[in-house]
């Protein structure tokens, strides 16, 4: 059964490209263009993994991640943060208070993305 991945980013070009890559790699892809819709999609669909941008309208990625970690239903979902801003890893919480497992600094390659996803899902 294909793994379900939620992509949350306000940049439509990034969402298109990432979705295409993930679909080709065999993932089921869901998308949201801001943190609030992303949070709602995560709570209703419970994806296997979330790819999350930081700077977004309505609700930013940091806040969305906090809400995910507060909710017992979504707490364990691994999150990969995709951002051009480096050095923000300590601000993101991973499952059960651990450090964030995935932090990709843009620009990154398709290979890096798929490898990081594969590592997290295997661990999961």
């Amino acid at each position: 059964m294909p793994k379900k991945c939620l992509v949350v980013d306000d940049n439509p070009e990034t969402v298109d490209i990432v979705s295409t890559i993930l679909k080709k790699a065999g993932y089921d892809v869901l998308v949201a263009y801001d943190g609030e819709k992303g949070l709602s999609a995560a709570q209703t669909t419970l994806p296997d993994l979330i790819l999350l941008d930081i700077m977004m309208p309505v609700m930013d990625g940091l806040t969305m991640n906090q809400h995910l970690k507060e909710d017992p239903k979504t707490r364990a979902i691994p999150v990969i943060v995709m951002t051009a801003r480096s050095g923000m890893e300590p601000m993101f919480q991973g499952p059960n208070g651990s450090p964030i497992q995935g932090y990709l600094v843009k620009p990154f390659s398709q290979k890096e993305l798929l490898k990081r996803m594969d590592d997290l899902l295997r661990k999961d």
């Binding site: 070009e13 990034t14 843009k106 620009p107 990154f108």
Partner: protein, 211 residues
């Protein structure tokens, strides 16, 4: 006879002291040079180690970046100068003090000083950063690119845009990252927005990078 021996001994002693002084001055000079050179050597070694490593967690362009080396003494001094900028008189002194950092060897310190100098003397600051960014060595270019990305002006944007197709992938990534950050922070002047958007789209289609 005794006077002759004493004179001879005195002469030897004076010669020994003089030679000692010469050796000491030489040692101090070479030590200073070596310490400047060792900074570059260290950065080169770090750069090589990072580029040689197949799986690297820290992007090469972040090496030595101010937010990762906040304790570096020169950065603290620059921050202190920035903090003191309260009136016109301070500005003139600050400008002079910041210019002194350009004589140092560390490219990150130069870039940080140029960033601080920008509000006081944009022409000199951008000139210094352009020099760093166009250097032949990536570990000198990367700090320049970082600081250019931190400043908002047509000129800094033009320099970055001209470097998007740089042959060194680490330099190219740093340039793209700076442009993406400027775009995210909405720091791109209106006249350039479409050009930058087109350029980033071109990068998306010509490379396998996700921006």
């Amino acid at each position: 006879m005794n006077e002759f021996v004493a004179g001879l001994l005195f002469g030897f002693a004076a010669l020994a002291i003089l030679s000692g002084c010469v050796v000491l001055v030489y040692w101090i000079k070479t030590r200073k040079k070596d310490s400047a050179g060792s900074k570059v050597r260290l950065l080169t070694q770090q750069y090589r180690a990072m580029t040689d490593s197949a799986a690297r967690d820290i992007p090469v362009e972040l090496l030595g970046r101010p937010e990762f080396i906040a304790s570096r003494m020169e950065f603290r001094k620059i921050e202190a100068i920035e903090a003191e900028l309260t009136n016109e008189a301070d500005r003139a002194i600050a400008q002079k003090l910041l210019n002194d950092f350009f004589t140092l060897d560390d490219p990150w310190v130069k870039a940080r000083a140029a960033k601080a100098l920008y509000p006081l003397d944009p022409k000199t600051a951008v000139g210094q950063l352009n020099e760093l960014a166009k250097n032949s060595s990536p570990f000198v270019q990367l700090p320049g690119i970082w600081a250019l990305g931190e400043l908002s002006s047509d000129r800094t944007l033009e320099i970055l845009m001209s470097m998007v197709w740089n042959k060194n992938p680490d330099v190219q990534k740093a340039v793209i990252r700076s442009l993406v950050l400027k775009d995210t922070r909405q720091q791109i002047p209106r006249a350039y927005r479409q050009k930058v958007k087109d350029l980033l789209n071109e990068v998306r289609y010509k490379t396998d990078w996700i921006l």
